[in-house]
Symmetry: C2
Subunit: 397 residues, 2 copies
């Protein structure tokens, strides 16, 4: 008999709580686990011994948690170094914690890896399991990441409605989507398209740097063809010198503790691009939105598949840990006409720190659009989208 701990780290998602509930319900079935500590605010909560007793939460509350966005145990942006991890291990020893479940992205996998290695080195028996989550979909090994499908659904619904708005009052509309380095979430805008002339007409992702001239040329071309243009732009959109447009804009960019430039939650890029289109192309009606935190936190908009898989990943981490292995849970897509997956274990080191970008096959030749291969990949993760319709294209009488 020993104790377990679970925590959630990094940017919340719409289904990170489903993974948490998966861990909780599976731990509750394990006879060899006595207590299940929930560390409040991730690693910060571990070193400060801010624990709640997760075995005491009712089934009803757990279901509400699983359906809720954000991290129910709180999160943290702390990126622990060796000394920090030593403290964490010290707390584990103090509380006789032998099972560590950490739900997070690549940085969290790395934290998990460091602690696991330290435990091994010091001869302390510890099973450390990373449960993947990120709206960016940029973790290695796994086919896709829990959290992505739900965020992608938000982006697709937003752009699908926004495109109709742009049909009603034509002009240029720019939507800035989260994603510093990988274009997966911005690509989800392509899922909004139902008809050939539907927006988004242009999609810009960090994987394909673009000059302002080229960007304006693209917009001009679409606007001349359709009399309107809907554009999805990644917040990490960058110039051919690989500097993001936002970096170029911000003379004094705020930095978060991971050393990434803070791009989310600011309207600067959207407003800048709108200004460029208005000023240089002379188009009158130009509007821009930055989707911001709603992409990861909007209440009541989970992708069903995503929520189920996230929960399954949480459960599976516990099952793997019973076999006394550490690792990260990953998703494998099975072959066949109908979408299905299986879970497998991968080494923590395989997921730690590194990230992946959109494969070339998902990006069109021009570098400003998304291919059918991506649609085929992403649609099952998002699930059924609301079908929309308009009437302006009926034959004139």
């Amino acid at each position: 008999m020993a104790n377990a701990i679970v925590s959630q780290s990094g940017g919340p998602t719409g289904v990170i709580n489903a993974s948490l509930v998966g861990v909780i319900e599976q731990v509750c079935k394990q006879k060899q686990i006595k207590k299940l500590y929930g560390a409040v605010h991730a690693v910060k909560g571990i070193v400060n011994e801010q624990f709640v007793d997760l075995r005491k939460v009712s089934k009803k509350i757990l279901e509400e948690v699983a359906a809720s966005p954000s991290s129910a145990l709180g999160s943290s942006r702390d990126k622990p170094d060796r000394a920090y991890c030593e403290k964490i291990l010290g707390v584990f020893k103090k509380y006789d914690i032998r099972y560590f479940y950490y739900i997070g992205g690549n940085d969290s996998a790395n934290t998990c890896y460091i602690i696991d290695t330290m435990a091994r080195e010091s001869g302390y028996e510890l099973q450390s399991f990373h449960v993947p989550k990120t709206i960016d979909n940029d973790l290695l090994v796994t086919d896709h990441c829990p959290g992505y499908g739900t965020a992608a659904k938000f982006v697709a619904c937003a752009v699908r409605g926004d495109d109709l708005d742009n049909r009603a009052l034509p002009g240029v509309k720019i939507d800035v989507v989260m994603g510093r380095h990988a274009g997966f979430l911005t690509a989800a805008a392509a899922l909004a398209k139902q008809r050939d002339d539907d927006g988004p007409h242009l999609i810009y992702i960090p994987e394909r740097p673009v000059t302002m001239e080229r960007f304006l040329g693209d917009v001009d071309g679409v606007y001349k063809k359709y009399g309107r243009c809907v554009i999805a732009v990644s917040e990490g959109m960058c110039d051919v010198d690989h500097k993001t447009w936002t970096e170029k804009l911000a003379e004094s960019a705020e930095h978060d503790s991971h050393g990434n430039v803070q791009l989310s939650g600011t309207g600067a890029l959207a407003d800048f691009l709108a200004g460029q289109v208005k000023g240089k192309l002379g188009i009158k009606r130009v509007r821009a939105d930055t989707f911001g935190y709603l992409q990861r936190s909007f209440a009541g908009l989970q992708s069903e598949v995503d929520a189920k898989e996230a929960r399954r990943c949480g459960r599976q981490a516990v099952l793997y840990s019973m076999k006394e292995q550490s690792g990260s849970v990953a998703i494998r897509r099975l072959k066949g006409a109908k979408y299905s997956i299986e879970l497998f274990r991968t080494e923590l080191a395989n997921v730690a720190e590194k990230t992946k970008s959109m494969p070339d096959t998902f990006i069109d030749k021009e570098g400003n659009g998304i291919t059918e291969a991506y649609i085929k990949y992403a649609m099952p993760l998002v699930g059924k989208l609301p079908r929309t319709q308009y009437l302006g294209n009926l034959p004139k009488v």
Copy 2:
């Protein structure tokens, strides 16, 4: 036997198409109406004779239209003067149009009123009916406006999730909500609250001007109490000299053809307020989002009640017009424990041009929050919201 025309004007909403479908299905039942023209892009489409035949649309497509955000016939921001209205009346005469259904806000009611008066003066028999829509909820006479409940639902879901995000990664979060003059939509953020310490902790609406000092003092107070602060701010938030913060910011504000300063779709206000909080209160984690066009166009997020009422208003306009009266359709809330409404006719002049603000009873004494009276008023219009939960408040072990 005569012909009818229907059109949609102004900013689209999530249910303006439900009203359109209400008009179409009711017209199809009227034997005295021969053709039903849909004018594409509102008054612009009327003067340019850009018509589609709405009797030919299948039931299936109509249901998809009713469920879709935005204006299926397209919209326009044109605000017709007398000469423009003369042209419209000329087209009506040319096409033997005797029934005019115009779905829009107070400006559209005014257009309807001018054309109706002109028709009367020239002895042309015309029934002109205005069907109300606006996310701002600021039309006179009616208890509430179709379109409001759906936009309010978006704001409530967004803030409910955003508040959990802010619990997970505490700091100050500022959400800028649409509404130039009336605070109704911003007030909907209050519907997000489930528990006493839930956000939004502060709500600023145009009806209650505030100095920057007072704003910062409020934020400081909440932050000291809860260690975090979620704020909903109307885009029309103004200083005590009644100039909006955005006007003060924008040296060269773009103007739309109604003479209103263009506030939507820009991140300037949110970024400005975030900068003030960060700079003057020294709070490290400050984030801001501008909800933008998603509030009126997000696909698949209708309030059920709102969609039903919008459709009913469309149908009723047709029924009223059969009795040879012109006017605007309005909603009366009936007394009783359970929410219910009835529709009634009001004169076009009663709705034309003017707008209303939030009643004092909906605003708290401090001017930075919303009362229970508002919650009671608005909750039935929005319908059931997704219940959310978190675990950070469990007793520490």
